[in-house]
C-alpha cells in the first residue's frame, strides 16, 4: 500500500520531517566523518610500521598495538555507529511520516557519543586499552556510548511509535532489531568483561568472540541491509521486491547469525566451535536471500549510476554478500587451518566495515544531507569522486590482504619454512594495501569536506538571519517580527 493514498490526514510534509532531523543528524554525521578521517589516518600510521618499523619507535602512542586498535574502534564506534544511528533516525521519521520525536535527545546523545569515542581513543593511544576485542574502550567511555545509544534508541522508538501508518516496512524490522541488538550484546559483553568481576580464563575470549560476531556480522548486517532496503526502492522508484525473501533472510539472520564467532582453532570444548560452524553454514541462507532481494529490486532499473548514492549502496550490498560469505568461510574448520592468524581475517573485517557498512552509510548520508539541509551538496563532484576513491581504495586495501593471508597461511602450515619467512610473505601485499588505505582516506576527506562546508554555510545563514532580525528591530524600533527564515532556524 502506498503512503500517498491517505494524504488527506497527512499534516506534515517531507521538508518539515527533514528539518526536524537537521540538528541531530548534523551532530551525528559531522562527528562520524571526522572520526572516519582520523581512524583511517591512524590505520595508515599503524600500517607504516610494517614498511618502516622504526618510524614511530619513540612515540608509544603511535606504535602498532595502540594505533591499530584505536583505528579499528574509530571506524566502528566513531564512524559506522553514529552515522548509522543518524540514518536510522531519519528513516524512522520518514517512514513514520512524523517529525522526529524529542529531537533534542539525539543531539545531546550525539555529543555524549562523540565524547565517549574521544575518551576511548585517547585512552587507547596512551595504553589504557582493556585488551578485549572491540571492547578496548575503558569503562567510562563504554558507559557514555551505551547511554548515548539508549537515548538515540528512545528517540527512534518514540518516532516509530507515533507513526501514521501502522504497517511495518522491512527496513523497520532490521533497524529496530539493530537498535535492540547493540544494547543487548554491547551491554552484556561490557558487564562481563569490563565490569568488576570478569569471568576467568578462556571464557573471556569466548565472550570477546561472541561480541565481535554480533557487532561485525549481525549488527552491521541488520543496520546496513535495513538502510539499503530503504534507499534502493526509493532510488529505483519501485517497491521492494519479494518481501518473503526479506522476512526469511531477517529471521534466519537473527536466529543463526548470532551462533557464529568462535574460531575452529579456539582452545575451548569442541562443541563451541562446532556450533559456530553450524551457525555459519546456516548463515549462508540469509546472506543469499537478502542479496536476492536487493538484486531483484535493482534489476532492470534505469537509474544512471555514475558515482551517486545508488552506486554507493549497490556496491555496499554486493560487498555485504561477498564479505559475509568470506567471513562464513573462516569458520569452516578446513579453511580455518590455513586462514587463522593471517591477514585474511583483517581483510574480511575491513571489507565488512568499509566496503559494506561504510559504503552504504556514505551513500545514505549523501542522499539525506541535501534533503535535511534543504539545499544541494556544496561539492557534488567530490561526492562522486568519493565513490570511486572508496570503491577502488577498499578493493585495493582488502584484496591484497586476502590473497596475502592465504599465501601466509600456506607457508605457516609448512614446517620447513621458518615463521619469520612466512610472516614476511605478506609484506609486498601490505604495500599495495596501504595504497588502498590512502585512497579511502582521500575519499573520507571528500565526505568530511562536504559535511563541514554544509554545516558552516548553515551556521553562517543562521547568523545572517539573527543579524538581520536585530537590524530590523533596531531600524524600526518596534516589536519583534518573525521572518520566514527564523522559524527554520529555531527548529
Amino acid at each position: 500500500m502506498n503512503l500517498t493514498e491517505n494524504n488527506e490526514n497527512k499534516a506534515i510534509c517531507s521538508s518539515e520531517i527533514d528539518a526536524s532531523c537537521r540538528l541531530p543528524l548534523l551532530a551525528l554525521f559531522g562527528g562520524a566523518a571526522l572520526w572516519l578521517v582520523l581512524g583511517l589516518a591512524l590505520g595508515i600510521v599503524a600500517m607504516l610500521s610494517f614498511h618502516q618499523p622504526d618510524m614511530f619507535a619513540d612515540c608509544s602512542c603511535l606504535t602498532y598495538g595502540h594505533a591499530q586498535t584505536a583505528a579499528n574502534d574509530l571506524l566502528l564506534y566513531g564512524f559506522v555507529m553514529p552515522a548509522a544511528l543518524g540514518v536510522i533516525l531519519w528513516i524512522f521519521a520518514r517512514l513514520s511520516q512524523v517529525t522526529l520525536v524529542l529531537p533534542i535527545v539525539p543531539v545531546v546523545a550525539a555529543n555524549l557519543w562523540h565524547l565517549g569515542v574521544f575518551v576511548g581513543t585517547v585512552t587507547i593511544l596512551f595504553g589504557g586499552s582493556t585488551g578485549h576485542p572491540w571492547l578496548e574502550y575503558p569503562r567510562a567511555a563504554a558507559v557514555l556510548l551505551f547511554a548515548a545509544f539508549m537515548l538515540i534508541s528512545v528517540s527512534a522508538a518514540a518516532t516509530l511509535g507515533f507513526r501514521t501508518h501502522r504497517e511495518l516496512y522491512p527496513s523497520h524490522w532490521f533497524l529496530l532489531a539493530g537498535l535492540l541488538w547493540f544494547v543487548w550484546s554491547y551491554g552484556t559483553a561490557n558487564l562481563f568483561l569490563v565490569g568488576n568481576h570478569p569471568p576467568r580464563g578462556v571464557v573471556q575470549a569466548v565472550i570477546g568472540w561472541w561480541l565481535t560476531n554480533n557487532l561485525l556480522f549481525v549488527w552491521l548486517a541488520l543496520a546496513g541491509i535495513g538502510i539499503a532496503f530503504y534507499f534502493l526502492p526509493k532510488i529505483v522508484g519501485k517497491p521492494l521486491a519479494s518481501s518473503g525473501y526479506a522476512l526469511f533472510g531477517f529471521l534466519t539472520l537473527i536466529f543463526f547469525g548470532t551462533w557464529v564467532g568462535i574460531p575452529p582453532s579456539a582452545p575451548v570444548p569442541a562443541w563451541l566451535p562446532t556450533v559456530s560452524a553450524f551457525g555459519a553454514l546456516l548463515s549462508i541462507i540469509p546472506v543469499i536471500a537478502l542479496g536476492i532481494v536487493a538484486m531483484k529490486t535493482v534489476c532492470c532499473a534505469k537509474v544512471p549510476c555514475v558515482g551517486g548514492s545508488f552506486c554507493f549502496i549497490k556496491f555496499g550490498v554486493l560487498s555485504f554478500v561477498v564479505s559475509s560469505l568470506l567471513y562464513i568461510g573462516e569458520f569452516c574448520p578446513r579453511a580455518s587451518r590455513v586462514l587463522d592468524f593471517t591477514w585474511f581475517n583483517v581483510g574480511v573485517t575491513q571489507w565488512q566495515l568499509l566496503g559494506f557498512a561504510g559504503m552504504i552509510l556514505c551513500g545514505a548520508i549523501y542522499e539525506i544531507l541535501p534533503r535535511v539541509m534543504g539545499k544541494e551538496l556544496p561539492f557534488a563532484k567530490l561526492a562522486k569522486l568519493n565513490f570511486f576513491l572508496f570503491a577502488g581504495g577498499t578493493l585495493l586495501f582488502v584484496i591484497p590482504l586476502l590473497i596475502g593471508g592465504v599465501e601466509q597461511g600456506m607457508k605457516l602450515r609448512d614446517a620447513n619454512i621458518p615463521f619469520a619467512d612466512a610472516s614476511a610473505v605478506a609484506l609486498k601485499f601490505l604495500r599495495i594495501s596501504t595504497t588502498g588505505q590512502l585512497l579511502v582516506l582521500l575519499g573520507a576527506l571528500c565526505l568530511l569536506l562536504n559535511i563541514l562546508v554544509m554545516t558552516i554555510q548553515w551556521k553562517l545563514g543562521l547568523v545572517k538571519t539573527v543579524v538581520s532580525v536585530v537590524k530590523d528591530s533596531l531600524i524600526e524600533g518596534s516589536a519583534y517580527q518573525p521572518l520566514p527564515g527564523d522559524k527554520e532556524a529555531k527548529s
Binding site: 500500500m1 502506498n2 503512503l3 500517498t4 494524504n7 497527512k10 506534515i12 510534509c13 517531507s14 521538508s15 518539515e16 520518514r94 517512514l95 511520516q97 516496512y169 522491512p170 527496513s171 532496503f229 530503504y230 534502493l232 526502492p233 526509493k234 522508484g237 517497491p239 521492494l240 521486491a241 519479494s242 518481501s243 518473503g244 525473501y245 526479506a246 522476512l247 526469511f248 534466519t252 575452529p264 582453532s265 582452545p267 575451548v268 570444548p269 569442541a270 562443541w271 566451535p273 562446532t274 556450533v275 560452524a277 553450524f278 553454514l281 546456516l282 549462508i284 541462507i285 543469499i288 536471500a289 574448520p333 534533503r371
Partner: protein, 201 residues
Amino acid sequence: MSDENKNCCSPETGEPTATRSSAPMWIIVVTLVLLFTGGLFLDSHSGWFDKNVYAPYQSREQLESIQPKSGEKQLLARGKAVYESVCGICHGSDGLGKPGQAPALAGSEWVMAKGASRLAHIPLAGVAGAIQVGGKDWNMNMAAMGAALPDEDVAAVLTYIRSSWGNKADAVTADDVKKVRAEIGKSPQPYSGSQLLKMPE
C-alpha cells in the same frame, strides 16, 4: 506525488513500499538441506556438548579409548582387544557363540567356574569331541587358539570373558595361566569334555 510536497518541498518520490510475497519453496528446501548437513556435522564433531572433549577429538568414547588404563580396567581393555581378534570370530563379540560351531560364553558354566584352571586348559590345548555346555551337547573341534599367546594375554582374555555379558567370576592372573601351561607340556593335545570334567576347577 503528494500535494503537500508540491507546496513546500522539492519533488520527491514517496516512501518505499514492499511487494507482498511469501518465502519461496526452494530456499526453504535449501535451508532444510543445510540444517541436515549441519546436523550431521554437529553430531560427529560436537562431542555432544561434553565439556571435556576438545578438538581434534570428537566424542567421549574416543577420548576414553585413548586414555592410559591401569589395574583391572587395563586388564579388561587388553582382554577385550585379544578376544575381538582371536576368539570373537567364532564365539561372537557378544559372547553368544555360533550355532553348531561355537558354544555361547555368556552364562556358560565352564566360563564361570570357581577357579580358572579347568577353563584355561581350553584355549591352551583346544577341545575335541563331545562336551556339554549349558545343557546342550556339542561336538567340538577347537584348536589351541591361545597356545601362541603370552600368559598375560591369556589371563586378560579369560578375565574378560569371565566378567562380560553378565558373567561374574574372579579375575585370572598370568601365574594361573603359567601353571596350566606347565601342566599341559610342550606338545598339547586337545581334550575331550569328559577329560576336562575330571580336572579340578
